[in-house]
Amino acid sequence: MTDTNVSFVRTEQIPPSPPPAAEAGIVKWMRENLFSSILNTVLTVIAAYVIIRLLMGIVPWFANGVWEAGSMRECRDILAGASGACFAVLVDRWDHLLFGFKYPPEAYFRIVIALVLLLVAALPVLFQTVPRKLLLFTGLYPFIAYWLIWGGSLWTPLMLLALFVLTAMVYRLIGEQISTDMRKIAAAVVGLIAGVGLAYLLFIGAGELGFIANSIGTSGALNTVAYGAFWLMSGFTYLFFIPMGIFVGYAIYNSYEGGGLVSVVTALLFLYAALTFVFGPVSDGLASVVGLELQAVASRDLGGFVLNMILGTVCVSLSIPLGIALALGRQSDMPLIKGVCVIFIEFIRGVPLITLLFVANVMLAYFMPPESNFDLVLRVIIMITAFSAAYIAEVIRGGLAALPKGQYEAADSLGLNYAQATRLIILPQALKISIPGIVNVAVGLFKDTTLVSIISMFDLVGMIRGPIQNATEWIGVYWEVYGFGAMLFFVVCYGISQYSQWLERQLQTDHH
């Protein structure tokens, strides 16, 4: 039974009334997010107090900032006791902070061009949609950048480029384009040369070990142990240099049927011989005919943020392929390769980077002849690359381990050989998993390049800590220069981080 005696029935809906003031807009957001409980209210008040105090300190400091002054004293006179930054130091020394204090100012534009070209060269590597033909430019970029930054004769990088191309051609020729009989002859010759060369190197090395032992001497227990150890190594090397040479030479000769080892060794021998005997005279000769010279700049004269950029870019781009090779090597079935990779990775990971840098800076000088001018920047690049390669190898090993076993078996069942399976099936998936880890290492590595300031190289931090803070005009400057340095690093590192997140979204294949 329903009551039919209804006196009023609404015929249309009431329009929705606006929510109460306390439940809308900014008030609601604040109630929910800032004052939802007593604890949150207390925390909000404390945080607001801290933020306001910080802003009270920082805002006037920025707003009063002095941009035009010749020294810290003039800054203080202009400020007349008020709190304020002395940004004049940045105006005075911006070029030193960016380029180092010894790079010739008239050549700054070369570095700027090199950095702009770096962006172009990086495009095809970073973005799949960019035309693939640009990769050719990426391949040429290292030679262009070397010429722009270090200067000297253009023939040096051109000749190097030509040598690399020729080496690749030799590799293809020996490996793929000649008959097995021809390769057998080549293998015999190359095996003989490599065997004799190795034996010679070991012979020299044995002498060097003895020389080191003698220079250590026997004063003190530790020295005596080192002395004995070096002489023992020297003795072993003397004992085995001929058998090792024969063994390696024969192994190379024996591999002529597969062709892989023979072509690699031939190409390396070719590269070595060309660099040693042909490179210098020919590039000097060409330079004397047609100059094409830029003002040469020594490695020691590099500095500032550019040095951090050079070290970061070079070391990251070298250590990723090296890291992949180490990670694959560590998973290898061949005990020698696996052993070498494991020892390398574990040794490098067990030693702090700063120790490696000290070795690069001071210890190597003891072992080298006094006049051998083994470039300091090159030494540092080798050390940092080795360091980050070991870490990247472990990151990629994580990616490899995360792949289901079925992927390896599927690759095998398709009849792919090891190289094909790795290139087409394993690495694309493993690298995708490893992206966050690799980027993490890369960002960390870029920031670690500031450690070179400890071995008295004037990178950005070295410039700040050394010449700028100790300049007679700028004694007492602190936050301005470090803030500037932090800003530069933040821009680059945040950019890398954003790119890697974008890349992860691009490579997402599991559509949820």
């Binding site: 790079y103 590039s283 000088a365 051998s372 071995i455 008295s456 700028i468 803070q469 007492g476």
Partner: protein
């Protein structure tokens, strides 16, 4: 370009490392450049200016040696070193001499096998404290926190001083002078101790220099001077007598203004011997007769170098004090040129 040198370096190392090194003088002449170790920056003593050119009191010694040996005061490769890398850089042959306000001590001279070629600045370790602490003697600093640079002789002197006075302190170890000043002015430590010259230089640049006092006690002897490796006495002699030439020039009144005139010959036989118009002192060093004239010509005599870089007219504002000529009651004294 000799890129092959890099590739073959390890192989070649075995061959050439065994050969006896030639004399440093010959190496420097063959290279056409003097490798001189300096600091990464100490105000007034060694600092690159806004144009990137090294300036300073220690730098002047390097330039004088380069002028004496190579006739070019700019033929110097300044190799910046830190307190930790300076001795290995010299021992390994990366640099030919070190002019990096380094204290001459027994163990550095004997055990580390270096040869100090003289003293270009007599320093001593002092203390700076804020005036408001109201302390008048360093012996009243019991329990103080002390900002101190690591890896220097000051660290050891500090420990000795507090131990011998039976008082305690808490060290705040710091890497560079600039950081030490920042920590001190921020109140992270009560006392800042380092060489008195550096204290004076840094105090002069404080926002309020009068709020800080330097204690009267000087707790150590810090004779700072250039040094070379043991075992190459010819090279050591050149560095030693170049420094002595600068000092003697001040004593004899030879300045950059009257140098050219005096080099023409004078009635004073010692000036004549110094500037090579009499005798053959340069030849005995393996240099030519004008070596000292060139060395003095770079930036003047010792007194002029002092005045332009760290003297009372500069922002560093150091008085000559112990570093006056012995004739003026200081310790600066050169053996005779005879």
């Amino acid at each position: 370009m000799k890129k092959s040198v890099i590739l073959g370096a390890f192989a070649v190392a075995g061959l050439s490392a065994g050969m006896a090194a030639a004399g440093t003088l010959d190496d420097v002449k063959a290279r056409g450049q003097l490798n001189c170790g300096v600091t990464t920056g100490v105000p007034g003593f060694a600092e690159p200016d806004a144009n990137g050119v090294w300036q300073g009191f220690d730098v002047a010694v390097c330039r004088a040696v380069a002028a004496a040996v190579l006739s070019d005061s700019n033929a110097v490769q300044f190799v910046p070193t830190t307190g930790k890398t300076r001795f290995t850089a010299l021992a390994s042959g990366e640099i030919d001499m070190l002019a990096r306000n380094t204290t001459w001590t027994f163990s550095r001279d004997v055990d580390l096998k270096f040869e100090f070629t003289g003293v270009n600045y007599y320093d001593g370790q002092g203390f700076m404290i804020p005036k408001e602490l109201g302390v008048s003697s360093a012996k009243d600093l019991d329990g103080a926190t002390v900002c101190i640079q690591t890896g220097t002789t000051t660290e050891l002197n500090l420990a000795d001083f507090f131990r011998s006075n039976n008082i305690s302190y808490e060290p705040v170890p710091i890497e560079t002078g600039a950081e030490a000043v920042q920590q001190y002015t921020a109140g992270a430590c009560d006392v800042y101790t380092t060489d008195a010259s550096a204290l004076a230089a840094q105090r002069a640049n404080f926002e309020d220099p009068d709020a800080h006092v330097i204690m009267p006690e000087i707790i150590s002897k810090e004779p700072l001077g250039p040094l070379v490796r043991h075992g190459d006495n010819e090279w050591g002699d050149i560095v030693r007598w170049t420094l002595n030439a600068l000092i003697t020039a001040e004593e004899l009144g030879v300045t950059s203004a009257n140098l050219a005139e005096l080099a023409g010959g004078t009635n004073n036989p010692e000036i004549n011997r110094l500037l090579g118009t009499e005798g053959d002192l340069g030849g005995m060093l393996g240099l030519d007769g004008d070596w000292a004239e060139r060395a003095i010509g770079v930036a003047g005599n010792y007194g002029e170098i002092f005045a332009t870089n760290i003297g009372e007219e500069t922002p560093i504002g150091l008085a000559r004090g112990l570093n006056a000529q012995y004739t003026d009651g200081g310790l600066i004294y050169s053996p005779p040129f005879r």
